[in-house]
Every structure is written in structure tokens, then in C-alpha cells.
């Protein structure tokens, strides 16, 4: 059965055609490339945006602190037990050719507060200090928080999507396939469940416990799986009535075989079309919750928290500009991908005959 399920994802001529079609829609295709690059970069963000150096050479030894355990300052001949400040170390090593520090392009972590003696945060963008997008009101680098916030939001969104779709497809498909009382029962259940005000639930949860990544995912899955069921139910009903399903039945195919071999592959285009929009919805939802203060606990880097800071501190326009620009860019790219996928999966290339 597993083997059969895998066949859904095997490239067949139609998929190839759809891929070709997708590539021909330029802005969707470049958006996909862009998002992929961003995601890939965010996966190795520790090398690019980090207060830990990429590499240090000291007394003939090479250190790679990025993914290792913390290295106390004493290790490099500095007079403190806590984690080495690599930016200071770089200044310290200046003029010593044997010892050197290779810093990340953005030498700040998302948590570190960095203060200047002559001014109060938030600090404006500065190439000299390598705060390329400035800092927030706690003196933390905005670019660092954007990057780690992006990774978190995308991760959240993808996990949320996977859970929602697995539940939604399974239940929706079952409703359409079996129909009858089962369908009726679940329809009513979903109708009732959809009317529970989701935001209140989140607010109640957030006031009682500090929401973690997984509590948020759980709560959002509990209230988010219903959307997909309607589409799957409809498409299953439709496909089930087709002759090829009847033929499969007549040949003695089991229900499992019919669902996995015939119905699901034929409804996959619907699911795929929805994915980009669900990703965008997930990112927006997390940002909105963080903005309202019901999301991930501080000091987690988050776009919503940055947005809240930015709107409360309009005199520091770089905060709100950065996060709004980042959000617009990502959501726009996701929307373009979605648009291109929809086009590519649309069997009617032309809407009228010529």
C-alpha cells in the first residue's frame, strides 16, 4: 500500500507538463526560487547571522564556535568566564597576524542586547556598527530577529499545514467516500466547531499558560483542520461517481485501493493549489498572534513582536519599515507561487476556443 501511495508523487507525463507550465509563468517561478533560497539560507542562519564567529584562530588552534558548545572568554585569553564576545575578540586580535576571527556577515544574535554609551535604543541602521537594519527598543539587531523570525514562522506554517491537511484530507475524504450518516454527522460537527471563536480560545490559553511553539500548533490545528474537509468531501463525491471508480469496484478493488490509487491522485491538484495560500495564512496567523501578544513568549524572535514594537515607536521608522517590507516580500512571493500553481494545474489552458 505504501508503494501505491508513493505513486501519487511519481512524475508522470501530466506532472511534467504542469511543471513546464509552472516554469513558464515567470514571476511564480522566480518567487519559488527566491523562497527556496531564503529558506535554505535561513536553515544555515547560524553561519550568516550570529554573534558567534564562524572561525577563530588562536595560538595555532582553529575553533569553529557556531555549532559547538560555548567557549568561555578565558579560552582566548580574555578575563571572563562567560561566553566570548567575538566582536570584541576581533578588535582584541587586531594587529596580531597569527590570531584572527572570522565573523558572520551580521555579527549579532537575535537575543543579544547591544548598547551604545551615548544614546538610547532603538538605534538607527548603521553599516559601521553592522546593524544593517538598526536595532529594536531593547538594542537587539533587527535583521537578526527578522531572519530567525522568518525561519520560525515558516517552520510553524509548514508544520501547521501538514497537520491541518492530514486531518482535513482524511476526514473530508472519508465524508465524501462513505457519505450518509457519517457525512451528515461530521458536517454538523464541523459547522458547530467552526463557530467557536478561535481568537478567544487562544487568548484564554495564553493567559493561563505561556504558549509554546507546540501549544500554538496544537490549538491552531484543533481549530484549523475544517477548511480542507469541505473541498475534499466535494471532490471525493465527484470522483466517486465517475465510471473509473465504478470500474475499479467491479474489478474487485478494495476501498483502500480506490481511495489511494484512484481518488486521492485525482484530487491532488486541489490540495497543491491550496498549499501556498495556507503557508501565507500560517505566517500571517503567527504574526498576528505575536502582534497581539498571545503568541510565542518573549524573547522569541518574531515578526509580530517587531511589528508591535514598530507601530508603538513610529519615531524609529526603521523597525516598522523593515518588518513590513519583509512581510510584504515573503507574502507576495508565496502568493505568486500560489497563482502560478493554480494556473499550472488548470486543465483549461484557454478559456475560449479560437
Amino acid at each position: 500500500m505504501g508503494n501505491e501511495a508513493m505513486k501519487i508523487f511519481r512524475l508522470n507525463p501530466q506532472t511534467k507538463k504542469q511543471w513546464k507550465r509552472f516554469r513558464s509563468i515567470k514571476r511564480g517561478y522566480y518567487s519559488l526560487l527566491g523562497i527556496t533560497v531564503l529558506l535554505a539560507m535561513s536553515l544555515v542562519a547560524e553561519l550568516l547571522v550570529n554573534n558567534r564567529a564562524v572561525a577563530v584562530r588562536y595560538d595555532g588552534n582553529l575553533y569553529f564556535p557556531t555549532y559547538s558548545a560555548f567557549i568561555p572568554g578565558t579560552e582566548f585569553g580574555l578575563g571572563y568566564e562567560y561566553e566570548t564576545n567575538y566582536r570584541e575578540l576581533k578588535t582584541h586580535f587586531k594587529g596580531q597576524s597569527a590570531n584572527w576571527v572570522l565573523l558572520s556577515p551580521v555579527p549579532y544574535s537575535a537575543f543579544e542586547t547591544n548598547f551604545q554609551l551615548d544614546a538610547f535604543p532603538p538605534y538607527s541602521p548603521s553599516f559601521e556598527n553592522k546593524h544593517f537594519l538598526g536595532t529594536d527598543v531593547s538594542g537587539r539587531d533587527i535583521l537578526a530577529r527578522l531572519v530567525y523570525g522568518f525561519r520560525l514562522a515558516m517552520g510553524f506554517s509548514v508544520i501547521l499545514l501538514a497537520c491541518n491537511y492530514i486531518l482535513g484530507i482524511a476526514i473530508g475524504c472519508a465524508m465524501g467516500f462513505w457519505g450518509g450518516v457519517f457525512d451528515l454527522l461530521f458536517q454538523r460537527l464541523i459547522e458547530i466547531w467552526s463557530n467557536v471563536p478561535f481568537l478567544y480560545v487562544i487568548m484564554i490559553v495564553a493567559s493561563v499558560v505561556v504558549p509554546t511553539f507546540w501549544t500554538l500548533v496544537t490549538v491552531m490545528v484543533i481549530f484549523g483542520w475544517m477548511g480542507m474537509t469541505w473541498y475534499m468531501r466535494t471532490i471525493t463525491y465527484k470522483e466517486k461517481a465517475r465510471e473509473y471508480v465504478a470500474a475499479a469496484h467491479a474489478l474487485g478493488a478494495s476501498n483502500t485501493r480506490i481511495i489511494f490509487r484512484h481518488i486521492l491522485p485525482n484530487s491532488i491538484s486541489i490540495v497543491v493549489t491550496f498549499i501556498p495560500f495556507s503557508v501565507a495564512a500560517g505566517v500571517t496567523a503567527l504574526t498576528a498572534l505575536d502582534y497581539l501578544g498571545f503568541g510565542l513568549p518573549p524573547p522569541t524572535p518574531s515578526w509580530g513582536e517587531l511589528l508591535a514594537q514598530g507601530t508603538a515607536n513610529l519615531q524609529a521608522p526603521w523597525i516598522v519599515t523593515s518588518v513590513v517590507a519583509a512581510m510584504t516580500l515573503v507574502l507576495l512571493m508565496v502568493a505568486y507561487i500560489g497563482e502560478a500553481i493554480r494556473e499550472a494545474f488548470d486543465p483549461k489552458k484557454f478559456t475560449f476556443y479560437e
Partner: protein
């Protein structure tokens, strides 16, 4: 205990909101019901009370020697404009919906029996001219001022005080807290003649505490008809008071106006004269602080509190200030400070170790916090009871950020080694502590402390909860570290915070679970002592023990008030007093007055573009170093 907590919570909220714009809920009252009634007699047959013979041997005291702190130059007249964020839901001072942001105005239309001189801190006469203490240590006798009048001209007599008890105990007012307070805290009020009463409290206390804790306001018995409809009937009736002002006009949802009494009985009294000077106080509802600020810049509001750093540093700048139309004042006060800081739960296995607590204290970079995130506006709080005048122990200095000392204490505590992330470990347990707090605006402060604490190998995990959930956790002693502030009292309160009787059980204020027999003995001695010298000595000793135990890490205080005001508001020579909370509150101290000539001059100059000398007052008379 409940009351203390209630006070603490409300004061905490007040102290929190000093730097955050408090946004009152945008609730709009049923405006049709908001018809003001100025009638003041609703009761035909007044309740009267029996007189008892006055016990012999009472030693009557008064105080007419303390200096007058109002200005002899003050003149009556003018309209003072000020703003609030929301319209009151009712004009009642008790009962449902009465405790809102407006209640401070409503309550100050009535005076108390005695008051505290804001500079000498001695008690001074107000509605009572003399007072005497009973031998039982819990009763105070008062001789009432026969000149006192309600704002409708009726005499204020002993019966009005006895009626307060009937009123406050009544179920018709739907106010359980008051029902309880006037039954269990104020046990009885006795009349001896029309102008002599006594008030008996529940427990014996030192004299100053008796006057402070068991105070009593008269209630106009000719005004209140107590029946089942009281809550509804009295929502929009303007209650006569003993103070200078009475609500005289309201415009639904827009403003409340207070009118000053002509021939107010207090005009000729030593400590009441030349105060509460504007003829009219108009409190306008402006639902947004930033909008209110714009009104202020146009001169439609006369004064604006600018304690919040954002207002002081960014908004209170520019043309109207540089042209000398609007003055600024930063006035240091000397008054008890809310105990803001980190409260450590000693029942927690990690924090049970004193070395960890002291190590943590030395790992808190409060000075960096003050000089960066708090913009140098706040000052370091020294102890739990800071600013309690002679009661505060002047020899205690808070623990400074010192990683070497932190390392020494933490090494001694059995957390000598650091894990792979730089956090100290003991038998596989990380030195990670959860800090519960409830104000989102405090997050940047905690974020800074968290990052600095990492240097000492301590991890702080921030737990932001909504305030009721946070207090529930703290009062059930489920917290590790609580980031909060207790409100203030007249004298230090050790029993509720540090006595073992309140430790290890929920719903008490001993949130550190301090349990020390030696301290218990001293606390009981402190509670029983009635002479000031002994109490001060014990308070110093106890404060020292609290400091030694390291259960509280003090953070910051704001020992001043800041205001911006149009130059036509005039202040006395010394601007304000030692314990002033708000210089331009027209009803609490009410020292300022309006100069109409200067107002006309200023407005004309503003039109022409003429300028005046810039006034930027920084008064440090009462600053404590």
C-alpha cells in the same frame, strides 16, 4: 490580608501605568441614564443616633503649629481644564462600576477627619479639630469642627459619621469589600454629643497607624435613601461633600464639571485656606493620550503629566516650550516607594539556597538597565521599604552587578560548572529560573537582565501572563521569581510579607515564603510596639535581615513627578510638597491657581509670536541621595 492585597494590586497597577499609557476600556455608559441630579435632600426623616457619656481622662490633642504650605498669593477663580481617558460609569463612590479611573476625582469631594501634613508628616486637623486616644490602643476620639458644612449648606454632625457605618454595612450598596471593612476593621462608631465621636478599630496599633488606618468620612444622611433601588437611583446624583468641590454639570460621555462652593467652610481654616483655587474644574474625556496631548499643546488643557519617558524626552520639546508658553517641572518627592523588583520563592529547590539568591542578585545588571532601556529616568531602589522616612534603614545598599561576586556565590552553591550553552549545572539540572510578570511593556527590561545574567551562567526564562493569572500563580506560591511591585503603606509591613504564619500557604502576601523564627519574634515585637522609636529600631533591624536573606532584589523607583503646564498656572514658592503625587491635581493638594491676566497675555503673545523666558524647573529640595 485581602485588603492589603487589593491595595497592593491597585497600587501596583498604578505604578505600572506610570510609564505606559493606560488605555481605559472603551466602555460607553448608557448615556440616556446619565442625567445629573443636583437635588440633595431625598430623606425626610433623618436617622438619629443615641449619645453615650464621654469617658473621663481623655487627653485631647490638635496641631496648629505646623507651617501653612499653601501660598498666600493664591487667588480664587478661573476654569481648570484637565483630561481623563474614559467617562465614569456612575457618580457613586461605592457600589457596582464605581471604582474606575475617575473615582479619584469623585472621592476627593469629601474630606476625612484628620489629614497628614505633606511636609512635616504630622497629623493635622481637617473635619475634626481635636483627637484623643483611648486606653485600649484601638479607639480614637474626635472633636468635630462645628463650622463644617455639606456643600448644600447642611451642618456636618456626629450623626453623619454614625450613618456612614449604617450605609457602608448596608447590603443595598452592593459593595462587599466596604461591608466587610466597616464591620471587621472599623468595629464601632459612638456618638457622645453632636460634635464628639469615637472610632474603634479591630486591633491595637501605634497612634499614627490608628489615625491612618481607621479613618472615617461622614456620609450625608439627608441625601442617601437606602433601599433596594439605591444603586440605580444614585448613579447620576451629585452627592454633597465636605470638600471645596461638588459635581455641578455633566455632558454625557464628554465631560464632568466640578464647581467650587461659594463661601466654602474651609476657606478660613488654617490648613485648608488658599487651596483648591479654580472656580471650576472641567474634566474632559479624551480617549487617547496622544490626542489629549494635542489638546494640551493648543492650550485647551492646562496641565499634562509627563512622567512617561516618551512624553518627557520626545513630546515635551519644541516650539511652545522654547517660546516659554509651556513650563516644565521635575519635582523630587520624599515618599514611600512601591517595592519593584524580583521576589524569590525560597520554597523552590534552587532558590532555597541563599548562595543562589545572592549570586542572582549580583548577576542582575540593574545599573545598565537604568542607564539604557530606562533612559536614566529611574533610580535604583535600595530596599523593600525605601522612602519610609525614618523607618527606612539608611545603611542598606542594594547588591551591585558584580560577576566575580556572583561567581563566588554560585560556585559555593553547588553550581560550579557550566554546561555546553554556558549555563551552570548541578547534577544535570540547569540553573534556569522562570520569571513571571504581567506587563508587556516590561519585556525590554527583562530581556536586558536575561542577557546579562547569562554572563554569570544563569538563565532567566520570561513568563508573561495576564495580570490575574500572574497574581494567581504568585499568591499560590507556584512561582520561582516574581517580577512585581507591592504597593505602599504609611509604615513598613513586615508581618504580611515575612512572617512564617503567612509562609507556605496560598493567598497570603509572603510570596518569598520567608520562614525564620528569629524574624518572627522581631516582627511580633514590631507589631506590638506602640512607640515610634522602638518601631523604627525594629524596622531597621528587620529590613537588614530581609537584605541579608536576599529574598528580594530591588530594582527601581521613580522618586519624582514631572509635569508640563501652561504658564498661567501659578505655583507656590516651593512648587509642591514633600509627598506630592501630582502637582496639578486640583482636589488633593490644590496649591496652584490660575492667573487670568497672564492667560490673556500668553494667548495674545502666542498669536503674535512673542516669546517669554523658558521655564524648566528641577527642584531637588526633597531629593534623597
Amino acid at each position: 490580608m485581602k485588603r492589603a492585597l487589593f491595595l497592593a494590586l491597585s497600587l501596583f497597577l498604578v505604578s505600572c501605568s506610570q510609564d505606559d499609557a493606560p488605555q481605559a476600556p472603551g466602555q460607553i455608559p448608557d448615556t440616556d441614564a446619565a442625567e445629573l441630579t443636583l437635588q440633595s435632600r431625598f430623606v425626610e426623616e433623618l436617622p438619629t443616633y443615641e449619645s453615650l457619656p464621654l469617658p473621663a481622662g481623655l487627653e485631647w490633642v490638635t496641631n496648629v503649629e505646623d507651617p501653612v504650605w499653601s501660598s498666600p498669593e493664591a487667588t480664587l477663580g478661573g476654569t481648570f481644564n484637565i483630561s481623563v481617558l474614559s467617562f465614569p460609569l456612575t457618580l457613586r463612590t461605592v457600589g457596582p462600576d464605581s471604582n474606575d479611573s475617575f473615582s479619584a476625582y469623585k472621592r476627593y469631594t469629601n474630606l476625612g477627619l484628620v489629614s497628614i501634613h505633606p511636609n512635616t508628616l504630622n497629623f493635622i486637623p481637617q473635619l475634626a479639630t481635636h483627637w484623643a486616644f483611648g486606653p485600649d490602643g484601638k479607639t480614637v476620639y474626635y472633636r468635630l469642627d462645628p463650622d463644617a458644612r455639606w456643600s448644600d449648606g447642611e451642618l456636618v454632625t456626629a450623626d453623619d459619621y454614625l450613618f456612614t457605618i449604617d450605609f457602608m454595612r448596608s447590603e443595598h450598596i452592593v459593595a462587599p469589600w466596604y461591608n466587610n471593612h466597616y464591620t471587621n476593621q472599623i468595629v464601632s462608631v459612638i456618638k457622645y454629643d453632636d460634635y464628639t465621636i469615637s472610632v474603634e478599630g479591630a486591633t491595637a496599633k501605634p497612634k499614627e497607624e490608628l489615625l491612618y488606618e481607621y479613618g472615617l468620612n461622614p456620609t450625608p444622611r439627608h441625601f442617601h435613601k437606602l433601599d433596594a433601588n439605591w444603586v440605580q437611583d444614585y448613579s447620576w446624583r451629585s452627592e454633597p461633600g465636605t470638600g471645596a468641590y461638588r459635581i455641578s454639570r455633566i455632558e454625557k460621555g464628554q465631560f464632568v464639571e466640578f464647581g467650587r462652593q461659594e463661601d466654602w467652610w474651609g476657606n478660613g481654616k488654617r490648613y485648608l485656606a488658599k487651596r483648591f483655587n479654580p472656580d471650576t474644574v472641567r474634566v474632559t474625556v479624551i480617549r487617547d493620550m496622544n490626542v489629549a496631548w494635542e489638546y494640551f499643546l493648543r492650550g485647551e488643557i492646562d496641565a499634562f503629566p509627563v512622567l512617561m519617558p516618551r512624553f518627557w524626552h520626545e513630546k515635551a520639546q519644541g516650539e511652545p516650550f522654547d517660546n516659554g508658553y509651556i513650563n516644565r517641572i521635575k519635582f523630587y518627592t520624599d515618599t514611600p516607594q512601591p517595592s519593584a523588583g524580583l521576589w524569590l520563592n525560597t520554597d523552590d529547590p534552587i532558590l532555597a539556597d541563599r548562595n543562589v539568591r545572592l549570586g542572582l542578585a549580583h548577576a542582575m545588571n540593574i545599573d545598565l538597565l537604568l542607564s539604557t532601556v530606562l533612559r536614566g529616568d529611574y533610580e535604583r531602589l535600595k530596599t523593600h521599604h525605601d522612602g519610609y522616612w525614618d523607618y527606612s534603614n539608611p545603611n542598606i545598599q542594594p547588591r551591585e552587578f558584580d560577576l566575580q561576586k556572583a561567581d563566588e556565590y554560585l560556585d559555593a552553591s553547588g553550581f560550579p560548572n557550566r554546561g555546553p550553552d554556558g549555563i551552570r549545572m548541578r547534577d544535570g539540572q540547569r540553573l534556569a529560573l522562570r520569571v513571571v510578570y504581567s506587563t508587556q511593556e516590561h519585556t525590554p527590561r527583562l530581556v536586558l537582565l536575561r542577557e546579562e545574567a547569562k554572563k554569570a551562567g544563569i538563565e532567566l526564562n520570561l513568563q508573561l501572563l495576564d495580570s490575574s493569572a500572574a497574581f494567581k500563580q504568585i499568591l499560590e506560591k507556584q512561582h520561582q521569581v516574581a517580577w512585581m511591585a507591592w504597593g505602599i503603606g504609611l509604615t513598613p509591613r513586615f508581618w504580611q510579607h515575612y512572617h512564617s504564619e503567612n509562609a507556605h500557604k496560598p493567598q497570603t502576601n509572603n510570596i518569598t515564603n520567608t520562614d525564620d523564627p528569629q524574624m518572627d519574634a522581631l516582627i511580633m515585637e514590631y507589631r506590638a510596639a506602640t512607640d515610634r522609636e522602638t518601631r523604627v529600631r525594629l524596622a531597621h533591624q528587620l529590613e537588614q535581615m530581609v537584605h541579608e536573606s536576599g529574598v528580594f532584589i530591588p530594582t527601581y523607583k521613580v522618586p519624582y513627578t514631572r509635569e508640563a503646564y501652561w504658564r498661567w498656572l501659578r505655583l507656590p514658592e516651593h512648587y509642591a510638597s514633600r509627598t506630592t503625587e501630582a502637582i496639578f491635581n486640583p482636589m488633593v493638594e490644590g496649591l496652584f491657581w490660575i492667573d487670568e491676566e497672564i492667560k490673556a497675555e500668553t494667548l495674545a503673545a502666542k498669536d503674535r509670536g512673542d516669546t517669554f523666558e523658558v521655564v524648566n524647573i528641577a527642584d531637588t529640595t526633597w531629593r534623597i541621595e
